[in-house]
């Protein structure tokens, strides 16, 4: 525990306060291929961790481990003080934006409500008033009240993604796991969805793990970055990780990081890429 405690103290977390996420000597591989190993990571409560890296570097797999959908090949993981397990009610999840099946069968508010108690058995007739109040609050928090009664299939990608955020937040999670939530959104929505997640996490004190390949929309919220490339990784503050030296070392080929009008531009990473992009991840 000492190593983890040290990180916690360095982050200004009171000693004894458990971390939101704790990975110890964690490793993950599929068959002969190792995605990453020796990963020690402690995410403090209220911390915003951005996970970056090329396709196939194991970003999504890391999230699946934290969701309890994927077992580690080595080491241990704990989330919100317990085992990483599906159904951990302290965990909220925002997936990639994609078209939902049967999307004319429910309204936005139903999607949010299912995020609250859809995993429970029964019909859900008890405490409906309380449930409705929570759903209303979550809808209002993401500015989705106006279209909450429309079928989700009739909504735009940006509107659906706002509902996704409400769905993840309605259970008041301690840990918020986001898997490329900005993918296929236009710039304006990338910005607003990032704002929603960043602000909500700050207000509630939830820890955030935000997997993305686009750092800029979340740069101002990022406390630390975990950058994964081909089994190598670097963890640190954005100013430490997002540098020409660090990324060149990680990619093992010349990569340049430029700062243009408050935005980071990474040149050369796409070409350097990952040699195993077709394997491992879905």
């Amino acid at each position: 525990m000492t190593a983890a405690r040290e990180v916690g103290v360095a982050q200004g977390i009171p000693p004894g306060e458990p971390s939101a996420i704790e990975l110890r000597d964690a490793g993950l591989g599929f068959g002969k291929r190792t995605l990453w190993e020796g990963l020690n990571l402690s995410v403090a409560q209220g911390e915003f961790l951005v996970v970056l890296g090329p396709n196939g570097s194991g970003k999504t797999s890391l999230l699946r481990v934290l969701l309890g959908l994927q077992g580690l090949t080595g080491g241990s993981v704990s989330v919100a003080g317990g085992v990483a397990g599906a159904g951990n009610s302290h965990v909220g999840y925002v997936p990639q934006q994609k078209t939902l099946g049967g999307s004319y069968s429910v309204r936005g508010r139903d999607l949010v409500g299912l995020g609250l108690d859809g995993h429970r058995w029964g019909i859900g007739l008890r405490a409906r008033k309380e449930r409705r109040a929570k759903v209303e609050a979550a809808l209002a928090a993401v500015g989705a009240s106006e279209y909450a009664d429309r079928p989700i299939g009739a909504l735009s990608g940006g509107e659906q993604q706002r509902l996704r955020v409400a769905q993840a937040l309605v259970g008041e999670p301690d840990v918020l796991l986001c898997d490329e939530p900005l993918l296929s959104l236009d710039l304006a929505h990338q910005h607003s969805v990032s704002e929603l997640i960043g602000t909500a996490a700050r207000e509630s004190g939830a820890a955030v793990v935000f997997v993305t390949h686009e750092i800029n929309p979340v740069l101002k919220f990022a406390d630390r970055i975990l950058y994964l490339v081909d089994g190598r990784f670097r963890i640190g503050a954005p100013t430490e990780v997002m540098t020409t030296e660090t990324l060149t070392e990680l990619y093992r080929s010349p990569v340049e990081v430029l700062r243009v009008r408050e935005k980071l531009v990474v040149v050369g990473a796409d070409e350097a890429g990952c040699h195993h992009a077709e394997e491992g991840e879905d």
Partner: protein, 284 residues
């Protein structure tokens, strides 16, 4: 044509016990179909319901040949095939063609078994086009038992099934045991389908299991409202179909499917007339 609206005869026939039994059987089926229909529609399972009903038909025909109650053959076959289809990946690319292959095979086998059956013909075609009104009457004990089982299990698993139907990825992430629920729900669909095969017949089960749910989904997106509407639509089709068929003595299923389809058309037209599609008038 005058026979169609001979209310005197209808009233007279409604006094008979076997007609009342048929109405009760129809009401049970309408309830089950209405409750389960919106979920089937949300999961895109219409085609597999059709396949299940053809297999139930083959099972019923086999039971007829073997001298066992038709209803048991239909139920057993429907549950088995529903389970098998439920274990198929939900959105696999092969799913459609697998179902198609199974469906036609079931129908073919069923027809062969009926041809082999030496007995009289009324039971034979009842399996295909319905035989709810007969002097032997439906097996009410079995129907009531099946209805209760479906209602109880559905009440237990309703919320996670709805979750995994509309949002499977998130449901899995939240710990919904989809691998358990998919086959379990499929078995419920199998039981419900076999009830349908005994009443409206294998060819027309879809009219009760799918059409009311699909019609309700056109006019509302609230799970509660669509479920209530689907039950009403299914009951109106089923009971209305039975009552209308009495005087002319025509096959029940013709009336059931017609009413059910007209309701569906009406719902589509109604949805068209509204500026904001399916903005629910009733908040839940």
């Amino acid at each position: 044509m005058g026979k169609l609206f001979d209310f005197g005869t209808t009233g007279e026939l409604l006094g008979f016990g076997f007609v009342q039994q048929a109405l009760l059987a129809g009401a049970l089926l309408g309830l089950v179909a209405g409750l389960i229909g919106p979920l089937i529609v949300a999961r895109g399972m219409a085609f597999s319901v059709h396949a299940t009903s053809e297999i139930a038909f083959a099972g019923g025909a086999a039971a007829l040949l073997a001298g066992i109650g038709v209803q048991y053959g239909a139920l057993g076959a429907a549950v088995l095939i529903a389970l098998a289809l439920g274990l198929l990946a939900r959105r696999g690319s092969e799913r459609d063609s697998v179902i198609g292959a199974v469906l036609s095979f079931g129908l073919g086998i069923g027809i062969l078994l009926l041809w082999l059956y030496p007995g009289r013909g009324s039971n034979k075609f009842g399996l295909l086009v319905g035989q709810i009104i007969s002097l032997e009457g439906p097996d009410l004990t079995l129907m009531i038992t099946c209805t209760l089982v479906v209602l109880v299990v559905l009440a237990l698993i309703y919320r996670p099934v709805l979750f995994s139907s509309v949002d499977p990825e998130m449901a899995t992430a939240r710990g919904v045991p989809t691998k358990l629920l998919n086959p379990l729900f499929a078995v419920l669909v199998g039981v419900a389908t076999s009830l349908g095969v005994q009443t409206v017949g294998a060819l027309l089960v879809v009219a009760l299991m799918i059409t009311p749910g699909a019609a309700a989904a056109r006019v509302s997106s609230s799970p509660l409202v669509t479920t209530v509407l689907a039950v009403i639509f299914a009951e109106v089709s089923m009971l209305g179909g039975i009552v209308l068929s009495l005087a002319p003595g025509a096959p029940v299923s013709a009336f059931v499917t017609t009413i059910s389809f007209l309701i569906y058309l009406g719902c589509r037209v109604f949805a068209r007339t509204r500026p904001q599609y399916a903005t629910p008038a009733i908040a839940t």
